[in-house]
Symmetry: C2
Subunit: 338 residues, 2 copies
């Protein structure tokens, strides 16, 4: 059985390197066929790793430099080739199957494009991630990599999203929709309508289900939702904001009286399933799809459970040959992408 080698940017994220090491250890208990390579300061990392028995065979690549949370991509991409993040990404080319970082998103995107390059047939990589729905999970992309998109970008995103949902959510024939302001054919931008038309003609290789509106994203009717990076970023953040607003308002209300506090105590067990399903740590791990290598972004402020889930995404993509699967689909569809 092929073992999966995963490189970790041990210095990226609000709680690095502790959370990175703890997350790796947690992931190892779930996937014992992982080998980890930690990129970061050996002096700090060594004792942390020694503390975790299941990480004893891990490799450490010593780096002095690292990317800071507020570094501007344009300032550090050229000069940061020896940072823990850059070296972890470069290692995906020759040494490991995937990498995970909880560091600066813009810089990670920049390095990934620079070192991994896009797959032939993909014009631009996109950011994808999964979210909870009434029925399970949905994968959405692009979440912010490309402000402006054309018809071909959307079709490529659809193919990438399909391969991703198949492997990471585990759906055999994922349903794919385009995000739009209505379900009728005449709605939205011309490039959206053109993409929709082409996707209909690709029915042999993609299970395209037409447009979907914003209020149905969480309905679980489809498995992949494709949109441009501007709209996707705003939709994602609006959903996060609304969810946070609801949760906080609810908490405040439940603290109001002794009765509501007691009520909350009684309902707590029943609410656990709800909380577990909504837990953002469960959906941690945004991916730069379309690159010749697997690079996964963890939330900067996550804990070890969240970081382990981001590793899980990288593991699934490497283990189940995401890139080969996507390349196969692309070779069939290239003639449609004009």
């Amino acid at each position: 059985m092929k073992r999966i080698k995963i490189s970790l940017d041990a210095m990226g994220g609000d709680n690095a390197p502790q959370i990175v090491v703890e997350g790796a250890s947690e992931a190892m208990t779930r996937y014992p066929d992982i080998d980890f390579v930690f990129f970061g300061n050996k002096t700090i990392l060594k004792p942390l790793i020694n503390n975790k028995h299941n990480l004893s065979s891990s490799e450490i690549i010593h780096t002095v430099e690292y990317i800071k949370p507020n570094d501007k991509p344009s300032n550090v991409i050229r000069r940061g080739a020896n940072t823990s993040m850059a070296l972890a990404i470069k290692s995906v080319k020759n040494q490991s199957h995937a990498m995970v970082s909880a560091g600066n998103t813009g810089v990670l995107m920049g390095f990934s494009k620079l070192f991994l390059k896009t797959i032939s047939g993909i014009n631009r990589p996109a950011i994808a991630a999964c979210f909870p729905t009434k029925k399970g999970e949905v994968c959405m992309l692009d979440l912010g990599a490309n402000i402006e998109c054309d018809k071909n970008n959307l079709i490529q995103f659809a193919l990438m999203g399909q391969a991703f949902a198949k492997i990471v959510i585990g759906i055999r024939n994922p349903k794919v929709s385009l995000l739009n302001v209505g379900e009728e054919e005449i709605k939205g931008f011309t490039y959206l309508q053109d993409a929709s038309e082409t996707l209909k003609n690709l029915s042999k290789i993609i299970n395209y289900c037409g447009y979907i509106e914003g209020d149905r994203i969480t309905d679980g009717l489809v498995d992949v939702i494709v949109t441009d990076g501007f709209t996707g970023n705003i939709a994602l953040k609006t959903a996060e904001g609304t969810a946070g607003f609801f949760t906080n308002s609810l908490k405040e209300s439940l603290k109001k009286s002794i009765f509501s506090k007691l009520g909350y105590f009684l309902a707590k067990k029943s609410l656990e399933g709800f909380r577990a399903h909504m837990d953002p740590r469960k959906y941690n791990g945004a991916v730069f799809l379309g690159l010749n290598g697997i690079a996964v972004k963890s939330h900067g402020g996550t804990d070890s459970f969240g970081f382990a889930n981001a590793i899980g995404v990288a593991y699934d993509m490497a283990k189940y040959n995401f890139i080969e699967d996507l390349k196969k689909k692309l070779s069939i569809t290239t003639k449609h992408l004009i």
Copy 2:
């Protein structure tokens, strides 16, 4: 004291005309200085209105035709001049101060543009509405009237939103932001950056606060959020969908055991404030801003409380001279809109 005359499309909406009449009666108890004109089938309307003592002095304009929920705007705009909706809108030009309809949104928008025309200085009208935030309410526009927007559209929307928030939410100097994918100046489309630049230069007439991201819409940091109709529609619907998803999942969880049911019972009173603040009926009443007349769209499926709130929006706009206020601001800023 000037009385406010409001025309009602009595035949529009899922539960028309009952809800329209009941909503009017409810609004009348809040604003006794309204005179209503009902447009619709007199035979059905007469007994409903007679049943409400405070509507006894209302006028009824008999119409046979009415717009159906699924009528396509392109099919009915030219031929529907005698429908209850069209006649109610036309009446705003000469007979009344504002109109409210719970009917077909696309047709209402079409008729409004055709009969009321846009205010000089406004290129395109926009749909605006209010939503709950952590601190109160926020007004957002455009929610779907204009798929594509340019710099000038956004600046005009900002001025319209400011006048709207001042009158309908009651904020003396509303804070205005542009929706974007980041808060830094270099983020987003060029036309967004240009609009931002111009709005900064209009600091004497508009309280512009820069960009806002999707996750902060509900934070209550600003009073008006401006965006194009595509993004606005998707953000609005995503928020609605997420809110519905949360509420339903929560309800399901609370039904799970006898303990959680008892818990809910105990917490019920404390949750009432939360529910009241989130109640979508409270925020009913989307407005087509930028027209030479006040046209308010109620949700099609609302009840009398929701419809009364939509009437409340029309009332406030008419009573506190929304259109005159906006025209004044426009005359000062026209030289900046190039």
